[in-house]
């Protein structure tokens, strides 16, 4: 898809996709929305599908996100969990802000959880980190860095024995 083509191409920008608030819990496997393309009480659901579904799919790549059109008298969201249970969320006559807020409360991860996970991911992802819980336990594993003095003696210009030796 070309960049600035189609209806509301801002929906396809990375900034917009990353700004999605709803990160589903790990238990959620399928996220389905039922709505109609007509009717006033489906307006919020239509807006939700139009504006927020791209964000949800982007933030939750491991979740199947499906939309079912014109099969229901009143719109609803249904989430299926990995233990076989499901939750049915009525979104009749609600606008998309109310819908997303409620979804974040009910099937989304809390903000603290997100922050903690972001930090965890950051510490794992940052290749500059080393030490306990990181990819490498010491900087000496990087080629070009000084080896650990326990295994290989330091260069002589770094050692006091030679630095302060009487000439």
């Amino acid at each position: 898809m070309p960049f600035m083509k189609g209806r509301e191409p801002i929906r396809r920008t990375l900034k917009y996709l990353n700004a999605g608030k709803l990160v589903l819990k790990d238990k959620v496997r399928i996220f389905s929305v039922n709505y109609n393309t007509y009717g006033n009480h489906h307006a919020g659901a239509r807006d939700f599908v139009f504006w927020n579904i791209p964000q949800i799919q982007f933030r939750n790549p491991d979740v199947q996100v499906i939309t079912l059109k014109n099969m229901t008298p009143s719109p609803f969201v249904r989430c299926y969990f990995d233990d076989g249970r499901d939750i049915l969320i009525d979104i009749d006559t609600r606008n998309r802000d109310e819908i997303i807020e409620h979804l974040v409360k009910v099937v989304g991860k809390t903000r603290e959880q997100l922050v903690a996970e972001a930090r965890l991911a950051e510490s794992k992802d940052n290749p500059a980190n080393f030490g306990y819980g990181c990819e490498r336990h010491c900087i000496c594993e990087i080629p070009g860095q000084v080896s650990c003095p326990g295994t290989v003696p330091l260069p002589e210009q770094m050692r006091g024995k030679f630095k302060f030796a009487p000439k």
Partner: protein
């Protein structure tokens, strides 16, 4: 020989410690140990405060402030780093036990049930209103249809009455001879002209 050696040792000791046997003098540390009280001669001595000039004082204050600020920032940084490290090195605080998870799930379900109930009540009100509106609309349309059909019947009746009225002068098979006789007896001549005043000018 032994005695001479002892004497030598004593002499050496006297030189080292002084001749007073009563004054306990330590060889290893050349000052008063902590557990001895203040010397009598120093008991009431008040040490003089060192005078500081104004610029010395300000300079010292500046250095002191700098030091405090830097140390505070380092301490804060280390504290934050420890917190970060604790958060990142162990994921215990975000991994819930199954019971906690179940409780959390139940809380979400309850919250959602409340939300669904609220929407359901609103929807019932809306559906009732819509139903009433629909009933009223259908009623109106039915009445309009009834009115329309009555009008139509009226119109048809009118036409029938008119036709019946007209039918009295129709030429039937029985009255055909009479009609022909009448027509032959009264020939009509259409060959005439009319001027603007309405006067008729017969040609023949």
């Amino acid at each position: 020989m032994l005695r001479a050696g002892c004497q030598l040792l004593n002499q050496a000791a006297a030189v080292k410690t002084g001749s007073n046997n009563f004054a306990l003098e330590f060889v290893r540390w050349r000052r008063k140990p902590r557990w001895l009280p203040v010397a009598k001669s120093k008991m009431f001595r008040v040490p003089e405060r060192k005078k500081q000039t104004e610029e010395e004082r300000t300079e010292l204050m500046r250095l002191h402030n700098n030091y405090k600020t830097q140390l505070r920032s380092v301490r804060q940084y280390l504290r934050e780093e420890v917190v970060r490290q604790q958060e990142t090195s162990t994921a215990d605080h975000i991994v819930l036990t199954p019971e906690q998870e179940e409780a959390e799930f139940q809380r979400c379900l309850d919250e959602n049930a409340a939300w669904n109930a609220k929407i359901a009540s609103e929807r019932n009100v809306r559906l009732a209103e819509e139903r009433e509106a629909k009933v009223a609309y259908v009623q109106e349309r039915l009445e309009a249809a009834k009115l329309r059909s009555e009008e139509r019947r009226e119109k048809v009746d009118e036409r029938i009455r008119y036709e019946i009225e007209q039918a009295k002068t129709f030429i039937t098979r029985e009255s055909l001879e009479v009609a022909i006789e009448t027509a032959l007896a009264n020939p009509v001549d259409h060959n005439y002209a009319i001027d603007l005043e309405g006067n008729m000018y017969r040609g023949r």
